[in-house]
């Protein structure tokens, strides 16, 4: 009996000690609970399409170059690079200590494979155009060329050579985009479609994917094989989609979230009072604009377009409708790109009252008065703020003899209609920078662009954009050419820029390294927590 009791006691003690050893971590893990406004659609860099997965993919993978926490361009998987004198050949030296999370080295062949995969029509990459500056990339993607003919070549295991069609000064900036990141060929060959699953995914970034429960959380754990793992502070990063923004604020207050990237702008003033410096609002590279049908009467009249644009009180929109979470916008390219001066509308500095008088005169000259109003329809996609913006504009233009009707449809219907160049007058649209260069904003209004919802066609603008492209090797000259091109676009009122976006984050004071920047990108690699 006694013996049995003794045995039981020893057994129980051993079990308790074992359990204790198991449950007590050797060190306390640093966990960053990172809120986002929507679920990521994919973590495959070549299938990416939303900003919500951009941060995640940036944590999991590493491109040739990358942004630091202030969006300065810094080396990534490549430790250095050279550019040929004519600006068309980039030679990247990959870092020798670059490893995949399974311990195998990241080689130039991985990039060759990945660049080809991005352009392969079978991949159906939405961001295939990110590598269109590469020789024959577009041809491959549009089934007019073979992958072997693409301008990407492994000179040796650590040297990658990329040949461009023409000098493209923003090419390195483009390479910071997650679509250009490498994927692991061996695991794709081995696992097929399952290569992307949590637990399977082999990546070369600071983190690996441990769990993904859609609409609940995505758990990233520190990658010990990452070449710079020693400087990575967070052991675990949980990406937590919280669609309901009011709930997100409560979760932040309760300490369930350390940061959230889309605070409810209608509560901005209250939130600032409540959370102080933890609320961060600042310039973000995005433009909110109205596309205007320039190829349809009466909107083909530049004077009329100008009168409408001039009469809109953007200060009111920014301050009252958007609660200062946006800034008044008078150019297509928002401020914040180093070396570039946006071309503002000429009336930008005119007092609003004078603008309205001038607009009224033009409208009267064209025969539009409150008695004989100009009929105009504004289409917008579903959102309380888009609706309020349109209603405010409706009220602003009414006294000038503009009779505005509003038409709201869901996002898919809205953009499908715009894409098909439907019969509309004015339609809400926006553009957020893919990379830090004016070209990303100006390219969308070019004749051939699928995003040219205004159907704006101007030989002068095309010529100016071509001139800027040709000046690729001379950055200063190119920026000047781009400003000239924008001047033509703005004077022609090719579309009506209304507002510049702002980032509006809420960030716990315990977090460090979450620095404000115009791209609103915050790699977890640089973030630490008290």
């Amino acid at each position: 009996m006694m013996r049995n009791m003794l045995k039981a006691t020893v057994f129980a003690t051993t079990m308790a000690l074992a359990a204790g050893t198991f449950y007590t971590p050797a060190f306390a893990e640093t966990v960053y609970n990172r809120g986002s406004a929507a679920e990521a659609e994919t973590v495959d860099p070549h299938k990416t399409s939303t900003v919500y997965e951009a941060d995640i993919i940036r944590d999991l993978f590493q491109g040739l170059v990358m942004h630091d926490q202030k969006t300065n361009l810094i080396p990534g998987a490549a430790e250095s690079w050279t550019v040929s004198d004519d600006g068309t050949v980039y030679t990247f030296k990959l870092r020798k200590d670059g490893l995949w999370s399974d311990g195998t080295p990241v080689t130039a062949d991985d990039f060759v494979y990945s660049f080809r995969r991005l352009e392969d029509p079978a991949t159906a990459a939405e961001y295939a155009s990110m590598l269109y500056p590469v020789k024959n990339a577009e041809e491959v993607n549009t089934k007019k060329g073979k992958p072997e003919d693409m301008g990407v070549k492994a000179i040796d295991a650590n040297t990658l050579e990329v040949t461009l069609k023409a000098p493209t000064p923003y090419f390195l900036e483009m390479l910071t985009h997650q679509a250009t990141y490498p994927v692991n060929k061996a695991s794709i060959d081995k696992l097929g479609a399952d290569w992307i699953k949590a637990g399977n995914l082999v990546s070369n970034g600071a983190y690996t994917l441990a769990e993904w429960v859609p609409n609940d959380h995505m758990k990233l754990v520190k990658n010990p094989k990452f070449w710079d793992a020693a400087t990575v502070k967070m052991d675990v990063v949980n990406y937590i989609p919280t669609e309901d923004r009011s709930s997100a604020m409560k979760r932040f207050e309760a300490g369930e979230l350390d940061s959230y990237g889309d605070l409810p702008t209608e509560q901005l003033a209250d939130l600032k009072t409540k959370f102080g410096d933890q609320v961060r609002v600042g310039p973000y590279l995005g433009t909110y604009y109205y596309a205007i049908k320039t190829d349809k009467a009466p909107w083909d009249n530049v004077e009329l377009r100008n009168a409408i644009s001039m009469a809109i009180d953007r200060d009111f929109l920014a301050e009252k409708v958007w609660q200062n979470s946006m800034l008044p916008g008078y150019s297509m390219v928002p401020p914040g790109i180093a070396g570039y001066t946006p071309a503002m509308a000429k009336y930008a500095d005119m007092p609003q009252i004078d603008r309205e008088d001038a607009a009224k005169k033009i409208l009267e000259k064209l025969g539009y008065t409150p008695e004989h109003p100009l009929k105009m329809e504004i289409r917008y996609n579903t959102s309380e703020n888009h609706k309020n913006t349109a209603v405010a504009i409706q009220e602003q233009l009414k006294p000038l003899g503009v009779d505005i009707t509003l038409l709201n449809t869901d996002t898919k219907t809205h953009y499908s209609f715009l894409e098909q160049k439907g019969n509309y007058d004015v339609a809400r649209a926006a553009w957020i920078a893919d990379y830090k260069d004016p070209e990303t904003f100006l390219g969308i209004t070019r004749k051939a662009s699928g995003n040219n919802y205004s159907s704006y066609v101007s030989p002068a603008y095309e010529a100016a954009m071509d001139k800027a492209a040709a000046a690729g090797g001379k950055p200063e000259e190119r920026m000047k050419d781009l400003t000239e091109a924008e001047r033509i676009l703005v004077d022609d009122v090719g579309n009506i820029p209304l507002l510049y976006y702002s980032f509006h984050d809420i960030v716990s004071s315990k977090l460090h390294g979450f620095d404000d920047n115009v791209m609103d990108i915050h790699p977890s690699r640089f973030i630490s927590k008290d």
């Binding site: 295939a128 859609p214 953009y415």
Partner: protein, 307 residues
């Protein structure tokens, strides 16, 4: 009874076929497609995407393919979340919605029945008025008001519950959403129960039971309840189908990874396969629960026979 159940299950097949067919073609009538977005795609890239998902085939052929896959239990890939198939999304989300829905349903049936019975037994007295007032409030205050109030009180002020998240299914994470889901249902059940219990208490056989000197407990629980429960049974069918397949509002506000959110998100995103998957799941739940209700009718009320 078995023959009846089998017959009902067999007739469900054409019903499902009609539902699937209608949903398939109605989705395609809606303007816009899965790849229309703020950032327009070039025609070539859009064509690549459509080819990848077979959307470049004629519509009838897509339908035939879809039916073929469905018969093999393959709901297809999600267009909007290409890392997952629709089956994988349901495998992760449905058990969560079912857990929450079942908790809410049990809570609603138990609490609602008790409250309704209390109200009926105290007709036109304080107890009755209190239950009616609570029931009216419960059924009229919308879920999107109840949920934030629960978050605010229980989560932020008293710090008893988490504000949101599933927490890998921790009990504490289920309380708020289950309560929010249950409250309106409790109110409905209480009102239904009150009405049917009053009616039952006034029936001849109850009067006879009382005259025979049976105790109040025996009269109410053994005799009146059996008759009074029938409207609750018929309410349970559609309520179960609705609760178990998730609630968009509750799941969104509490950040619960159930399937309720897919119903609306998938439709707005024109994620055709995910929409079809949700339609099929709801249809199956509705058919099955209506069948269960009919069978339960026969169990509760001996006058009902299906043979």
């Amino acid at each position: 009874m078995l023959r009846y159940v089998l017959r009902r299950l067999l007739t469900a097949i054409p019903t499902l076929f009609v539902i699937v067919t209608m949903a398939f073609f109605l989705m395609r009538v809606a303007p816009g497609g899965p790849f229309n977005q703020e950032r327009g795609l070039s025609p070539e890239i859009k064509a690549n995407l459509e080819a990848q998902f077979g959307l470049d085939d004629p519509l009838w052929l897509q339908f035939v393919h879809y039916l073929g896959n469905l018969l093999r239990g393959n709901f297809g890939p999600s267009y909007n979340m290409p890392d997952f198939t629709v089956t994988e999304l349901f495998a992760k989300g449905l058990p969560i919605s079912v857990q929450l829905g079942a908790s809410a349903l049990v809570l609603a049936l138990l609490l609602g029945s008790v409250l309704g019975t209390i109200a009926a037994l105290n007709q036109n007295k304080l107890g009755d008025y209190t239950v009616i007032a609570l029931a009216t409030a419960g059924s009229t205050i919308p879920t999107f008001v109840i949920a934030p109030v629960i978050q605010l009180l229980f989560g932020l002020t008293w710090k008893l519950l988490p504000i949101g998240g599933w927490g890998d299914g921790a009990f504490i994470n289920k309380v708020g959403p289950a309560l929010t889901l249950a409250l309106p249902q409790i109110a409905i059940v209480a009102r239904l129960m009150r009405g049917s219990m009053i009616e039952s208490l006034r029936s001849h056989h109850i009067r006879t039971a009382r005259a025979l000197g049976l105790s109040d407990w025996s009269v109410v629980v053994k005799h009146a309840l059996r008759g009074a429960i029938l409207p609750i049974v018929s309410f349970t069918g559609p309520a179960a189908a609705a609760l178990l397949t998730g609630s968009v509002i509750v799941e969104t506000i509490f950040s619960i990874p159930g399937v309720g959110r897919y119903f609306v998100d998938a439709a707005l995103n024109r994620d055709y396969t995910l929409v079809m998957g949700t339609v099929v799941v709801i249809a199956i739940f509705t058919i099955v629960f209506n069948l269960i209700v009919d069978v339960m009718y026969a169990v509760v009320d001996p006058r009902v026979r299906y043979d």
